[in-house]
Symmetry: C2
Subunit: 351 residues, 2 copies
C-alpha cells in the first residue's frame, strides 16, 4: 500500500521533506517497507494542485525553485485530471490523502489556521504529522483525543528540536522510565547569540549577523524574549510529562538582559550563560519556565554551542539522559515529518 500525502504549506520544510522522499525512495521501500506518493500540495502563496493518481514531485520542486505557481503544474495522469486552486481545508477534506503533513505558518497565540487543518483531517479519518508548534502548544490534549476518536494518529516530533528525536526518544527508547524533569537549550538563535557574545561581540552586532544568516527574524522578539522556547517547554510539559499547562503559567524571561559583564563574570567562574527551558515535577505539581542560567562548564549543556539544541531528561531508572542535535534546518525538519510518517507506517503494519 502506498501512503498518500497531502502537504499543507510548501515552504522549506515541505520542500525539504520532498527532497528526502525523492532521494530515499528505494531505501525507504527496502528498509522500512514504506512507499508513498504526494497527491496534493496547497500553499497560500505558491498555489495549489491535487491529483488522486499522485503528483510528480520533481516538477513541483522545479516550479517553486523558479518562483512559478504550483498551478502551472502539468498534469500527467490520464485517468484523473488535476484540480487546481483548492484551499487547505478543501484539500484535506476532498483529497484521497491518508496522511496530512501540516506545514503552514506557526501562530502560537491562536494556533490557526493549523488547528482547523488538524481537526478537519481527524474528522475525515486522516492522520496528521506536523512541525507546527501552534496546535501542539495550545491544544495537544484535545487534538490527541480527537485523533483517537477517529482512529488516526497525531505526531509532532518536529515541534521541539526539529528532527532531533526528543518526543520519540521519550515515547520509545525511554518508555518504562518515569521522567521527573526536562531541561535544555531549545532555541538555536539565542544560543548562537550567547556563543558569539562569549567571543567578545556585542548583542546588537551579533543580532545583525544572525539576521543576515537567517538564524533570526527581522522582528527577533519571538526568539530573544524566550517565546519560541516557551512554546516548546509547554509541548514538553504536556506531551512528555503529562501536564496540562498553558503560556500563562510559564515563567518566561529571554536573553535581552544579558550584558557583556555578565558573560565575562561567568567565564571567570568557569561557567556559561545559556537560555534554559525547563519543566519539573515536584510533589505531583508540574512547573515550567524559560530563563537564562549560568551553567558550570563541566555540565553537558555547557558544551552546546552555536545554533545547536540539547535536552536533558531526568529519569528514575537511568538518571540524566541528554540528547544534543540540530534545532532547525530544511533537511532536519523535513526529517521530523518523515520520522512521524514512518511511525504511522510502522504502526499500521505492526512492524
Amino acid at each position: 500500500m502506498k501512503h498518500k500525502l497531502a502537504l499543507i504549506g510548501f515552504g522549506t520544510v515541505g520542500q525539504g521533506l520532498c527532497e528526502i522522499l525523492i532521494n530515499k525512495k528505494s531505501e525507504l521501500k527496502e528498509n522500512h517497507d514504506f512507499d508513498w506518493e504526494v497527491v496534493a500540495v496547497s500553499d497560500l502563496l505558491k498555489g495549489s494542485v491535487y491529483c488522486p493518481d499522485g503528483l510528480d514531485v520533481n516538477q513541483l520542486l522545479d516550479l517553486v525553485k523558479s518562483d512559478r505557481s504550483l498551478e502551472e503544474y502539468e498534469c500527467k495522469s490520464k485517468k484523473a485530471p488535476c484540480e487546481f486552486g483548492w484551499d487547505a481545508v478543501t484539500t484535506i477534506h476532498d483529497s484521497n490523502a491518508d496522511i496530512v503533513c501540516e506545514l503552514s505558518y506557526t501562530d502560537v497565540k491562536t494556533g490557526e489556521p493549523a488547528l482547523t487543518h488538524c481537526k478537519t483531517a481527524f474528522e475525515n479519518g486522516k492522520h496528521v504529522v506536523t512541525s507546527n508548534k501552534g496546535p501542539a502548544a495550545l491544544k495537544h490534549k484535545e487534538l490527541k483525543k480527537l485523533a483517537e476518536k477517529y482512529g488516526v494518529q497525531f505526531f509532532i516530533e518536529g515541534t521541539v528540536m526539529s528532527g532531533t528525536p526528543v518526543l520519540n526518544l521519550a515515547r520509545g527508547p525511554l518508555a518504562g522510565c518515569s521522567i521527573s524533569a526536562v531541561r535544555g537549550i531549545l532555541n538555536g538563535t539565542t544560543n548562537y547569540i550567547l556563543t558569539e557574545m562569549e567571543a567578545g561581540k556585542s548583542y546588537e552586532d551579533v543580532l545583525k549577523t544572525a539576521q543576515k544568516l537567517g538564524y533570526a527574524e527581522a522582528d527577533p522578539t519571538g526568539d530573544v524574549e524566550g517565546y519560541d522556547a516557551m512554546a516548546k517547554v509547554i509541548i514538553l510539559a504536556n506531551v512528555v510529562m503529562g501536564a496540562d499547562i498553558s503560556a500563562e503559567s510559564v515563567d518566561c524571561e529571554g536573553i535581552t538582559g544579558i550584558t557583556p559583564e555578565m558573560i565575562n563574570e561567568a567565564k571567570q567562574n568557569n561557567a556559561r550563560w545559556k537560555l534554559i527551558g525547563s519543566v519539573e515535577k515536584s510533589n505531583g505539581k508540574i512547573t515550567a519556565r524559560v530563563k537564562p542560567e549560568m551553567i558550570p562548564s563541566d555540565h553537558p549543556l555547557a558544551g552546546v554551542m552555536g545554533a545547536t539544541n540539547a535536552l536533558t531528561f531526568s529519569t528514575d531508572l537511568l538518571g540524566d539522559v541528554t540528547i544534543v542535535g540540530a534545532g532547525a534546518g530544511r533537511t532536519e525538519t523535513g526529517f521530523s515529518i518523515l520520522t512521524d510518517i514512518l511511525s504511522i507506517n510502522k504502526f499500521q503494519k505492526g512492524i
Copy 2:
C-alpha cells in the same frame, strides 16, 4: 498473556532488573500492557530454582541479600513443585520461559558460556535479551540469523552504555537516516580516571580510588587498555553500521600512556583528553578504532565528565546527534534488559 522470564545469572544486573519489575509492576501493566513472571533463575554461584507457575521474586532477592543459596527457596506453588539445581542450559531448554535474560559473566574472547545460552534459547524458540558484550561483539550476525530462523528476537541494548538508549535510538527514532560515523566515550572507568587526573591527581592514585569505588576491577587491564571500549565499538560497527568486523581489525590504544604533562598541555589549549571509540564509513569501507584524543572544550563530548558515557551519531539528514548518559550501574543496566523485553512485548502485540 504473561511473559515468562528465565534469568541466567543473578548478579547486580539480574537483581536490578527484578527490583524494577517489582516496583513498576502495575505501571508496566497499565502503560505498556506488559505483564510478567520470573519462572527460573540459574546462577553458577548462587544456585538455581525453577517453577513453571512463577517464582516469588522478593524471596529470591531476600535470599541473595542474606548470602543464602537460591536452592533454599521455599516453593509456593501447589500445582507444580520447584526444580532445583538446573544448570543454565537445562533451564533454557526445559523451562517454560518465553524470554531468556542472558546475564552471565562476560568473556569477550570466547563469548562463552553466553554464546551457548543464546543458541540454545533460539533453537528452543525463546527470545534472548542480554547486556553481555561477548556474544554481541563476536557473533552478532550469526546469532541474529539464528534468531530469525526460529522466529524469535535477539536484543542487546545493554551492551553499549547500559540502558542509555544507543542501539534503540539508531533502530527507532533515527530510522530513515544513514549513519556515516559514530564516535564516543564508551568506557566510564577511563573517563573517570581522566577527569580526576585533570583535577591534579596521579594515575596511580586515581586508579586505586576507582578500584575502591567499584568503578575499576582488581585487574584494570580491560578498561585502561581500551578492550572494553573496543568490544562496544565492534558492536556499534556491526549492529548500527552494518559492518562485519572483529577485534583484529580494530586499532586499539588505552589511556596508560597519558601523562600529567599531556593533561596540562591540553588544558592550556582549551581542550581535554578523552578515550574515544569510533567507527567511520568512508568510500564504503568501515574502520573502527579506540584511541585517546584531545577534544576541544566546546565539543559536546568534552563536557562529558566522570563515569558518564556519550555517543555521537553522524547522520545524513540530522547532522550530528549526541546522546549522553550512564554507562553502567545496577538499575541502569537492569533497565536495559527491561527496555528490550518491552520491545519484544510491543512487537508481539503490534502496539
